[in-house]
């Protein structure tokens, strides 16, 4: 593999003098690229002239692996796609398999899936906001955010035994029913969450330094957001009112009472703040789910041990913390999918970097990356 050296061509600097650019690798091993992304940045002074993202440092070929595994064996693979939010990565895949194989999922399993996915959204946002805050110097916010994330991980641990890669949502339902007293601990958690989130809001987003650093950086207009395929908080931060839970409702979301958080001027501040305010809504959804929780089994009856859906293809998507996470499956009737494609929101959101960053200074690259919140397991698949 060639660690090639960029060729450098003279550029007319802002002072009007022909001066060479400085090419810098904000490379795969960098604390604030949130993983193994490499950004070849052409600098004029400290102003970014051009930023060329190079990704693929975590490309494990999950789509190729999926072609040699049965439908049930692929669920642990989807955990490693968006490893900050494995629950909804599983769910997106399972929804497509259920649509392909025509499996009906019992009500209780759907409610459990919504609870678990909304808690995972809060945990994932905490990771996203915390890392973005640490990049602008507010390290205490990272610790606050991680404290909240750890409490959610404890809930997941008591539910399905794993801390990060849960393998909890399976085609046809969920793997375990909620243990004794789990709902009470979830309610206790969501009761106290509003106070913590207010604290975090004033600590970070209310801080004048953060406002100075984040406002007006990486402005994305609404048309660009839609045209460039951005989704989730990145698109909603620019005023695009599109949330799959509300505008393409699935599972039991139509029965939920929540509103979609939309920013207005599409800069890093609004994207970040959308994530935080969404957590209030997620907590409300969790409370409603616990209130309406029906009884019954959590797995579909009569599910063959080896799911072999009829030939055909299916696509389904959910609203993950990063956007619309879709899975496209093509089946040829055998117990192994013929083709699996993951439509990754982090991949499409990251494609905006070079457009958002041009003209800003180098530290703003970290701010924009923090607001785009890429997870490279899902970007590189």
């Amino acid at each position: 593999m060639s660690l090639e050296v960029e060729s450098r061509k003279p550029v007319v600097s802002e002072d009007g003098l022909p001066v060479e650019e400085l090419v810098v690798n904000v490379g795969p091993s960098h604390p604030s690229t949130h993983g193994v992304g490499r950004f070849v940045v052409h600098l004029d002074g400290d102003v970014i002239v051009k930023c060329d993202p190079v990704i693929g440092y975590l490309h494990r070929g999950i789509e190729k692996m999926a072609e040699n595994r049965t439908y049930l064996q692929i669920v642990p693979l989807t955990d490693r796609l968006d490893y900050v939010g494995s629950m909804y990565a599983n769910w997106a895949y399972c929804r497509t398999v259920e649509r392909l194989a025509g499996i009906r999922v019992p009500e209780r399993a759907e409610y459990l899936r919504v609870i678990v996915c909304e808690l995972q959204r809060i945990a994932s946002h905490m990771m996203g906001i915390g890392a973005a805050a640490a990049d602008t110097g507010a390290f205490s916010m990272f610790l606050y955010a991680f404290d909240l994330r750890e409490r959610i991980i404890e809930l997941f641990e008591s539910l399905c035994g794993a801390r990060l890669t849960y393998n909890y949502v399976r085609p046809g339902g969920v793997s375990f029913d909620a243990p004794e007293g789990w709902f009470d601990s979830v309610s206790a958690f969501t009761a106290g969450i509003d106070k913590t989130l207010d604290e975090m809001d004033s600590l970070f987003f209310g801080n004048v330094i953060t406002r100075g650093r984040l406002k007006g950086i990486g402005v994305l207009s609404a048309e660009d957001a839609v045209a460039c395929g951005a989704s989730g908080p990145v698109a909603r931060g620019s005023g695009v009112n599109w949330d799959l839970r509300k505008h393409d409702p699935y599972s039991v979301y139509p029965r939920m009472e929540f509103d979609v958080i939309v920013g207005d001027n599409g800069d890093s501040y609004d994207r970040g703040r959308c994530k935080l305010v969404e957590c209030y809504e997620s907590a409300r959804i969790v409370d409603q789910c616990i209130a309406q929780m029906p009884g019954g089994s959590v797995k579909a009856e009569g599910l063959p041990r080896l799911i072999a859906p009829p030939p055909g293809d299916a696509y389904d998507h959910i609203e993950s913390a990063r956007g619309s996470l879709g899975v496209y499956l093509v089946s040829d009737g055998s117990p192994r999918p013929y083709r699996m494609k993951v439509r990754s929101p982090a991949f499409c959101n990251l494609a905006l970097t070079s457009k958002l960053v041009a003209g800003h200074t180098l530290p703003d690259l970290m701010v924009v990356l923090g607001s785009l919140d890429p997870v490279f397991g899902e970007v590189d698949r």
Binding site: G35, L58, G61, R69, F142, L143
Partner: protein, 193 residues
């Protein structure tokens, strides 16, 4: 001082001289002191690529608190003693990991965290771009199983690493010889040195 030349000679002469003292008492006591101080402050280079990086972050924050072991994550290979490989290593990432390992000052150790770095883990079969195990190109000292391993087992690895640190010595004779970069276990047909 010539580049490392005279300095190395000086250290070896002193080490050898200390070695000749009866029973090497002075040497072992100096070694013990040096190794103890190294073991208590192993700064970690978090080579975090995938899911294990999340556990590495969780381990170094307030709930599990890596700092009480003296392990402080530093993003620069120059300031670190231990490279913690956290996450899948792909073919495209391999030269970077090797370069970062070479850029770390001696003495240095490698902790392979998670199944992906130990043996390719869940990505062992059917992938074209995953390196099956970090010990194919790096001398790994401590392996941690788990996908991802719990933060407690990660911290236990640091405690175990201190045993390895105690084998280091300033005298050339005792210094644990590294056979180049080939992993010792595989190089000698399985008998761990």
């Amino acid at each position: 001082m010539a580049k490392g030349g005279v300095g190395v000679a000086l250290v070896d002469r002193i080490g050898a001289a200390l070695n000749r003292t009866p029973g090497g008492i002075i040497l072992t006591s100096v070694d013990a002191l040096v190794d103890w101080s190294r073991g208590q402050s192993l700064w970690a280079f978090p080579m975090g690529t995938a899911c294990c990086a999340m556990e590495l972050i969780a381990a170094s924050f307030s709930k599990f608190d890596f700092d009480r072991l003296g392990t402080f994550p530093r993003p620069d290979p120059r300031h670190t003693d231990v490279m913690i490989l956290a996450g899948t290593i792909t073919e495209k990432m391999k030269p970077s990991v090797k370069l970062l390992y070479d850029q770390m000052p001696d003495p240095k150790w490698v902790v392979a965290m998670g199944n992906c770095t130990v043996s390719g883990g869940i990505f062992y079969y059917d992938t074209y771009s995953v390196v099956r195990g970090a010990d194919t190109f790096l001398p790994v000292d401590v392996y941690i199983a788990g996908c991802p391993p719990r933060p407690e087992s990660l911290q236990d690895a640091i405690v175990q690493l201190r045993e390895l640190v105690k084998q280091e010595s300033i005298a050339p004779g005792n210094r644990r010889e590294r056979k180049g970069n080939l992993p010792r276990v595989i190089a000698e047909g399985g008998d761990a040195q």
